[in-house]
């Protein structure tokens, strides 16, 4: 197998590369390499990767990072993988449910002020996963305590989202339940170290096995797959999730 050059200064991704040593090798420059770009960092590395001939770009910090960085990366024309540790592609697959059966999605996020927005964006991402597509904001209210919203997914699936901002520096927690004859519950709590996907049916509860692979290694593998031709929707999904969150959190108060 030919190893792919990999350009990063992110310690987590260096570790991931070491765990995929037969598939990637360190690169000296962006050209021809899979490049890691921080959306919550300066613009220059993004421009260097986009203009420097990267083979693929991994975008970190994109849930709340600068739009300018995302725009530069999006305009590069190369595959872009968005690194979202709270919304892993493998776990999203684990939570797959027939959207036609979903009668309601109830989503809750709560966190301290620092992670309030990112928790809200990731909760919206999970809503998109469970409803099977884009959601539309129908009604909302926000305050210093957070926000509450009524949304609709494809086929008019009703969604209720409540995102609460604690006054203490707590890390994010997200919980969703897709109500259906076989319901699925997603439970992610960064402080408590909880990640769980459970299905509830007449036969009882089924808990999906834990995903032990590091989020960085998974993202790097997805970038390698993208170079090999696998289609990605990461940027469109990110754009959707951030857009709904901005409508909820930034639009003029009703």
């Amino acid at each position: 197998m030919t190893s792919v050059p990999f350009w990063t200064e992110d310690p987590g991704f260096r570790a991931a590369a070491a765990q995929l040593a037969d598939r990637v090798r360190p690169a000296e420059e962006p050209r021809g390499a899979v490049c890691v770009v921080a959306a919550d960092g300066p613009l220059a590395p993004a421009e260097a990767a986009a203009a420097g001939g990267a083979s693929a770009i991994i975008l970190t910090g994109a849930v709340t990072g600068a739009r300018a960085v995302i725009d530069v990366v999006a305009g590069s024309g190369v595959p872009v993988v968005v690194h979202r540790p709270r919304l892993r592609a493998d776990e999203a697959g684990d939570a797959a449910i027939d959207p036609e059966q979903v009668r309601l999605v109830v989503a809750d996020a709560h966190s301290g002020p620092a992670e309030f927005r990112s928790a809200t964006v990731d909760a919206i991402g999970w809503i998109r996963v469970l409803t099977g597509g884009p959601v539309v904001l129908r009604a909302a209210s926000r305050s210093s305590s957070g926000a509450v919203a009524a949304l609709e997914g494809p086929r008019g699936t009703p969604v209720s989202l409540m995102s609460t901002r604690l006054e203490v520096p707590a890390r994010a927690a997200i919980r969703l339940r897709a109500v259906a004859p076989t319901a699925v519950e997603v439970d992610i709590d960064d402080s408590a170290g909880v990640r769980g996907i459970r299905f509830h049916s007449h036969d009882g509860e089924l808990t999906r096995p834990a995903r032990w692979e590091s989020a960085s290694r998974l993202t790097l593998r997805r970038a390698l797959d993208a170079i090999a031709g696998h289609a990605l929707t990461d940027l469109a999904d990110l754009d959707h999730d951030r857009g709904v969150a901005e409508a909820l959190l930034d639009s003029p108060a009703p």
Partner: protein, 372 residues
């Protein structure tokens, strides 16, 4: 003194005194009005656990033969009308377990018949016009009145309130989410089946018909969300406005409201099959998240389970109590009759007014266009 006591020109002290004068330790004869499967599954077994205080002496129901079937099993009389039951001198306590629209009328009839205590299934009344004469009648006659808001009586709720008082935190959001399995799944676990009347025909909810959707939401708020509305009122008594409200298919509701800087969300879906009932009440405060998982309805499975997740991710689990809310509401009635607990009409009035106002506001929101 404010609220109901002022409105009714009645001193709370007087009402309390009336109840204490009425103390005695004898068994009370209970007359149960209504004989649906829920009555047989819920109140008959619950009362059996309080056989030192209560015994069912009479069951009345208009539905063909169901009252007799239940009465036979508990050694009671049966009749086809509430009037016959209220005329029975052995009936001290009237348990009103009929559809909500009849509750107020039956309370007034029970008071007029001279009964000394009433257990009324939720809701107490479906409108303010019904509510005021009901409370006035009970207070004037010194009738002990308990409304079967079983979650309010759940021992876990007391523990949660103690936790909130002790920590002094502020409430930021409240959520009550229900995913309901069919009731008969749980009836079968606590009682042998009794003949059930055919369920009323309900046309499917047509989201394009705001009038129908509004009526469904109001009925469900008054009849189902009512389980949790006293808890919501305890935490967020001053609701400002309905943020969104809609009816859900096959039947359910989704309502969000704001209360100052805080929010509350009430969502429920009834499903014809599938997973066990989920009944989760969540409180997020300035510092922690409190989850209360109530057992499915009709069961005697102990109190709700409570988990408190603090700001550092530590999760504390409150040990469940053996008693449940269904038992505790009957225990409360016995304690009022025994003079061990004061009869307070004010909270009953406040809970009922809160629920009616919220149901009306949610229905208005649906009628005016649903989510907005």
């Amino acid at each position: 003194m404010s609220g109901i006591a002022t409105n009714l020109g009645l001193s709370l002290t007087k009402a309390t005194t009336v109840m204490r004068v009425g103390s005695e330790a004898t068994k009370r004869g209970v007359g149960v009005i209504g004989a649906g499967p829920g009555v047989w599954a819920l109140h008959a077994p619950t009362l059996a656990a309080f056989s030192d205080s209560f015994r069912v002496v009479h069951v009345a129901d208009a539905g063909g033969g169901r009252a007799a079937a239940i009465a036979d099993r508990v050694g009671a009389r049966s009749s086809g009308t509430a009037e016959e039951l209220l005329a029975d001198p052995e009936v001290d306590v009237v348990a009103i377990c009929t559809p909500p629209a009849s509750h107020a009328e039956l309370i007034l009839a029970a008071v007029a018949a001279g009964k000394r205590a009433i257990f009324c299934e939720k809701p107490l009344a479906t409108s303010v016009d019904e509510l005021e004469p009901v409370l006035a009648a009970c207070a004037d006659a010194g009738v002990a009145l308990v409304v079967g808001t079983n979650h309010l009586f759940d021992p876990a709720w007391d523990r949660v309130k103690q936790h909130l008082d002790r920590t002094g935190v502020r409430i930021l959001s409240v959520s009550a989410v229900l995913s309901l399995a069919p009731n008969d799944r749980y009836h079968a676990l606590v009682a042998n089946p009794v003949p059930a009347a055919a369920p009323p025909h309900r046309p499917p909810i047509d989201p394009a018909d705001p009038g129908m959707a509004a009526a469904v939401v109001r009925q469900l708020m008054i009849g189902l969300a009512i389980h949790d509305l006293p808890l919501v009122r305890d935490l967020l008594p001053d609701i400002d406005r309905v943020v969104s409200a809609r009816a859900l298919a096959p039947i359910g509701y989704d309502v969000a409201v704001s209360a100052g800087e805080a929010f509350a969300r009430l969502s429920a879906v009834m499903l014809p099959s599938g997973a066990d009932t989920l009944w989760r009440f969540t409180i997020v405060t300035t510092h922690d998240r409190i989850e209360i998982d109530f057992p499915p309805p009709f069961l005697h499975a102990g109190s709700a389970l409570v988990h408190v997740r603090d700001e550092e991710g530590r999760v504390t689990r409150f040990p469940p109590a053996a008693a449940d809310g269904y038992q505790e509401e009957w225990r409360a009635l016995a304690e009022v009759l025994d003079g061990m607990r004061p009869m307070e009409y004010e909270p009953l009035e406040a809970d009922a007014r809160f629920a009616i106002a919220l149901a009306d506001a949610a229905a208005d929101a649906v009628r005016e266009g649903g989510p907005r």
